[in-house]
Amino acid sequence: MRNLYYVDGSPECFFTAVFEAWKDGNAYLFSQPNIQTGLGDSWHDVTPDPAKAARVVKKLAALDSRAPYEIDCILRSFSDEKEQIAFEYIRLLVQGGVPVRERLSEPVARRAIELQQKVGAETHNLKGFLRFQETQGGVFYAPCAPDHDIVDLLMPHFVSRFKTVAFVIHDTKRHVAGIYDGRTWRLCATPKNAELILTEQEDGFSRLWKQYYNQVAIPERKNTRQMKAYMPVRYWKFMTEKQGE
């Protein structure tokens, strides 16, 4: 018998649910609509409430300044159980009063930290693996299909590098894009198909890069397994040096 709290996927709704389910020992929080329900489960649709959400966040930040960031990461992960894991993370934090990452002997803590690390790791990886192409309008365009919902986490990194140059990071899986116009950036929903016209230089640079990539490897030390372990094949789709292999 569970009390199901259905949230809309936004952090605000999640924190509202945390507030409402706090004293409920049978609470189960989720955003995945096709959940398997059991006999006797009861269903609540949670409506986001900014005031309740803010109270929860404030409390968390007071207990551990890193907690809001860690929960944000957990909620971006692709796991179907992310809301419940984040909820239990919060319970552990409030009950124990010490950062959850210091309590790795607790199973919940390990699962939460694992998700958070996966999201962090993918964000870090994509800072390296993302590839931009120059379009004729002068905007640099980078498509990607990350496991986790992280485009907005990537934006600040590239904004501070590109400064005066406009660019787009497009998550083709979730149909969202981070768009930077040279001054500010925002997140937008995107159409399913967008057409790109690349500059003439683009082909030249991508050929030089492929040439460099192939030449810089030391043939006597070939180690494909290690290469794939560090750069998983699922990222290759958008990587210039891996096209036409």
């Binding site: 990452r101 120059e134 460099y212 006597e220 290469m227």
Partner: protein, 443 residues
Amino acid sequence: MIDENRLKILTDGAKYDVSCSSSGSKRKNTADGLGNAAFAGICHSFAADGRCISLLKILMSNDCVFDCKYCPNRRSADVPRASLTPEEICELTVGFYRRNYIEGLFLSSAVVRNPDYTMELLYKTVLLLRTVYKFNGYIHLKGIPHADKLLTQKAANLVDRMSYNVELPSEESLKLLAPQKTKKSIFTPMGELTAGRAQYLAERKKGGGRVEMKGLGRYLPAGQTTQMIVGASPETDGKILRLTQAMYRKFDLKRVYYSSYIPVVQDPLLPDKTAGLLREHRLYQADWLLRFYGFTSEEILPEDENLPTEYDPKCAWALKNMQFFPVEVNKASVEELLRVPGIGAKGAYKIVSARKHATLTFEHLQKMRIVLKRAKHFITCAGKFFGSDDPETVKFRLMLAERTDSAEQLNLFDQGLLPPADAEKFLLRSTPQNALAVLTGQL
């Protein structure tokens, strides 16, 4: 845009330099500039040999007047020659950077005409890149031995890291294999850069931080590194590690890289076999012990010996020093934990933070994903011992553990994939005083 043929030649000439790390610098972008540096470094791709590609690693020219025996670009070799102009290098770097192919540039060069002429061109390139192209990404510049001191100092003011490669671990070997280089020609500029950095830091302190102009004028924030070729000459690991330790202490090097010799050149003075990856790997492990775990080279091995192949250097040390073990994980200090075979900086950090809230048992450690196949012979958990008392059995188990380790683990240390910054972070987060002592080797 440059042609593919020159790119091929100049990449080929640079690729045996091991370092591709882009870590250690926090250079900021300027208002209308391009790029910045990420302190922990970022890998942008991985080559077919499994190495991280972070920087565009390229020679300005391979047209050398020196004649180092082991080098395919030496004067006496009959190979196609190529050069790039400063503008060409800048355009390539910026073009690659904008597409996020790279984190920055690693520029080196053969000695064209003479050392000063070469250094002048290298300086011109980085100056152009920083000022005209407003590039604030990472730059690693390889210095030219014998070049003018002033030029070198000016270049150091613009780049994030510089390196002079020691190349061979002794003066005799240098004389034999790299006749135009001497220990002095390499150590003198290294020392001058160390002094230059110290002076910069002192001035910054005096000026209340104002000396640090944005982007420009930061003197080697990511310090210096060097590289040694292992197995081209007869020096033992013991000798190599003593040299390493001396350089870490004297020049405040960020890293020493070891490159296991690959015979690309035929010469009666050179071996025709590679030294093998295992030796290189063991040296990196020992190097790690020197830098982060508070070991000295004298503790690790005698001068005339090589590191054991059967197990890693920390295991070897522990087997010889069984009187220190077992240590109790709930009580041991960070530096004691760091001396336990199989427990690294990350493991020590996990233990220290988890034991504040619970008395740790063997099961706890397992669940915390601390690898115990080696460690269990050297620790107790809440008073209980799970290893073997018999030294021969322990030895055997450690050898077995080594053999069952996957290839990935074997390679974690190499290629700069575990950037030192990462390890420092873990150590610093544990208990500051102790960990600092471990870091600085002051234990």
